[in-house]
């Protein structure tokens, strides 16, 4: 089941598939009259637009590989952005804001994990519940009003045009990329990563092999929560305010990125590189739809089918290789 279990050639194809489909998308869109060029600025914008979804989707990949799901991530991002804004508004520094953001994200993940393992709730149900809970909490602590706060330099991490410009893309995008590489290694070489894969492939077998399933699951949700925390901080930096209504429905974009990237909702399968490519692909499609002057509904219909096609191709390939 794991993507490492297949023949080397298939595994390579798997790894390269997202990059290939991105390249294909670039070519396809360039072929459409009036052949809008892909400028450096467009690329910078696409990178920033993929940043929040991508960062949160790294954590979601980890969860989905272990056969879990997190529907609460959009609400958690809103809660984190409000919490960070409140710290900064009260005169806290960037350090304090980062700590509070990561801690808030981790706590959200911890609660999800405890509900799933402690109460034996299906992840879908547990996080459906916390989707409402975190959104409500965000509205409560903000008084239901966006919290405008000084960004104290945080906005430089997410500004589409980086300062200095030789960075090419915003520092936040580099951070996402670095975390992506880090988590590829975590998945492949760490005990946590291997146990996540084992649980996602077959939970009963994993338990028989002596993996402490509950503890591992909680750890996975906490780690994903840390990434959610970072995504929430990025969202705050972009808006310069903690908005309790932000990111409604973003969980679906995040899950879509994982699925486009080859993640399987039945667990045991998923790729961080693929996920990030999925996030970039969606941002790219949205950017091109605008540049080509297409109305929103065209874009929505296309993005919807990208998900369908990605999963269908994956199924077809899996069927052939087995």
């Amino acid at each position: 089941m794991s993507r490492f279990a297949g023949r080397p050639a298939t595994a390579w194809l798997r790894t390269l598939a997202p990059a290939l489909s991105l390249a294909a998308a670039v070519l396809v869109f360039y072929a459409i009259p009036p052949h809008p060029p892909l400028t450096l600025f467009d690329l910078r914008l696409v990178a920033v637009h993929a940043m929040i979804v991508g960062t949160a989707a790294i954590g979601m990949t980890f969860i989905i590989i272990s056969a879990g799901i997190d529907l609460s991530v959009g609400s958690a991002i809103a809660l984190v952005s409000v919490a960070a804004a409140l710290v900064l508004e009260d005169g806290g520094g960037v350090g304090a804001a980062v700590v509070v953001a990561l801690a808030t994200g981790a706590l959200c993940g911890l609660y999800n994990g405890l509900l799933i393992t402690g109460l034996r709730l299906p992840p879908f149900i547990a996080t459906l519940g916390t989707l409402g809970f975190y959104r409500g909490a965000a509205k409560w602590i903000s008084g239901s009003i966006p919290v405008t706060a000084p960004t104290r330099g945080l906005e430089r991490w997410v500004n589409p045009i980086p300062d200095p410009p030789w960075l090419l893309v915003a520092p936040g995008v580099w951070l996402m990329a670095a975390l992506g590489i880090g988590f590829v290694l975590v998945l492949r070489y760490s005990v946590l990563g291997q146990h996540a894969l084992a649980i996602g492939s077959n939970e009963a077998t994993a338990r028989l092999c002596g993996i402490r399933v509950a503890r591992t699951k909680v750890a996975i949700y906490v780690v994903a929560g840390l990434l959610t925390g970072l995504a929430g901080l990025m969202q705050f930096a972009r808006l310069t305010q903690g908005d309790p209504t932000v990111a409604i429905g973003l969980e679906l974009d995040i899950i879509a990125a994982v699925v486009i990237g080859g993640g399987s909702l039945s667990g045991g399968q998923g790729s961080i590189v693929g996920t990030l490519a999925g996030a970039v692909l969606m941002a790219y499609l949205r950017n091109r739809s605008t540049v080509l002057g297409w109305p929103n509904f065209v874009e929505e219909m296309i993005v919807g089918h990208i998900i369908i096609v990605a999963v269908a191709v994956d199924r077809w390939r899996a069927g052939r290789s087995s």
């Binding site: 637009h49 008084g143 808006l239 209504t245």
Partner: protein
């Protein structure tokens, strides 16, 4: 669409508690000896979490304070898209026997049966903010709202004058199916068309309902349209999202930008010259006139079927005039936290 920041009302639990206390106190006082019976007027907003509705609440409380013989019951659905909850709410209010209902309908069709039920039960309904697809005067008493088309026209005329009748103007639309903002966009396009040398750039792109989605949409639009001379956005979140996008491109203040509705950040941007103008409505006036109209009707006075609460253009020059300043930063705290 929703405007006007409450300012420093952080940890708004205080506001909620305070308003519950206000409502609670009203209830006990009405039982006071020798006092004439108070009219119980229910005010039902579309949601309870936006600043815009807080302004409407404040306006209703202002009417309560001025009229003296009225008790305002403010209750709304938690979420602004929950039509079903609002329908149940109106029906429950009918069965609880309030004297009148002031309603901002979430949907122009879905709420019609409940409103008819109330009227048939002898409870007059005044519609505020958004229209109802029914007959004014028979199905409901009066419609008190902003003339959204006129709001858009004001923005269009101002844009034409600021650009001295020539140039290209970009329109970022708000959301599919949002009636009030579509009217504003319609009015804007109509007024702009009277300037023959102004070209409207309308790529039919929608900002979506939050600031974050508006920011992404605006950034993408500006990659191809950063050479325009003017920009218009028809509500608060799209205006703020566009402002953030302009700032990141260092175009804020370079392009003539007119927005709709106000919040703390937008008022600051207006003062800085990043916005050339903000069209502001009067939600407090809507709450106030809504309650007054209901009371007038109950007391047998004739009321107008359609009442316009007015829209004004706020600019850097007039933003400190008392009249405009009150619309930009209304004194909600006075009514909501007393």
């Amino acid at each position: 669409m929703r405007g006007i920041a409450l300012g420093k009302g952080r940890f708004g639990l205080g506001v909620v508690v305070a308003s519950l206390l206000v409502a609670g106190c009203g209830g006990t006082e009405s039982g006071g000896a020798g006092e004439p019976e108070r009219l119980r007027i229910a005010v039902v907003p579309k949601g309870t979490s936006h600043d815009f509705w807080k302004s409407i609440h404040a306006g209703a409380l202002r009417a309560e304070e001025e009229l003296g013989n009225v008790e305002v019951i403010y209750r709304g659905p938690e979420r602004e898209d929950n039509r079903d909850q609002q329908i149940s709410l109106v029906q429950n209010l009918v069965s609880s026997g309030v004297d009148a209902i002031v309603l901002a309908p979430l949907d122009e069709h879905a709420l019609v049966p409940s409103v008819r039920l109330a009227m048939q039960s002898g409870i007059p309904v005044v519609v505020i903010d958004s229209g109802l697809a029914a007959e004014a005067g028979t199905d409901y008493v009066s419609y008190v709202a902003t003339d959204n088309v006129e709001g858009g026209r004001i923005a269009g005329r101002q844009m034409g004058e600021l650009l001295e009748g020539r140039g290209r103007v970009l329109l970022l639309r708000h959301a599919e199916g949002s009636e009030s903002t579509m009217r504003r966009e319609e009015g804007f396009v109509e007024a702009l068309a009277t300037f023959p040398d102004i070209e409207l750039v309308d790529p039919q792109r929608y900002s979506g309902v939050t600031t974050a989605t508006a920011q992404v949409a605006a950034e993408s639009l500006l990659t191809t349209h950063d050479d325009v001379d003017g920009i218009f956005c028809a509500n608060e979140s799209s205006t703020f999202g566009m402002l953030l996008a302009l700032r990141s491109r260092e175009l804020a203040g370079e392009i003539t930008f007119i927005g709709f509705d106000a919040n703390e950040s937008l008022v600051a941007a207006l003062a800085e010259g990043e916005l050339a103008g903000l069209v502001v409505q009067n939600p407090m006036g809507m709450g106030y006139e809504g309650v007054r109209t209901a009371v007038a009707h109950l007391q047998g006075a004739p009321v107008d079927l359609r009442q316009d609460t007015g829209v004004r253009l706020a600019t850097r020059d007039n933003m400190n005039d008392p009249e405009i300043a009150e619309l930009l930063t209304p004194d909600l705290a006075r009514y909501l936290e007393q």
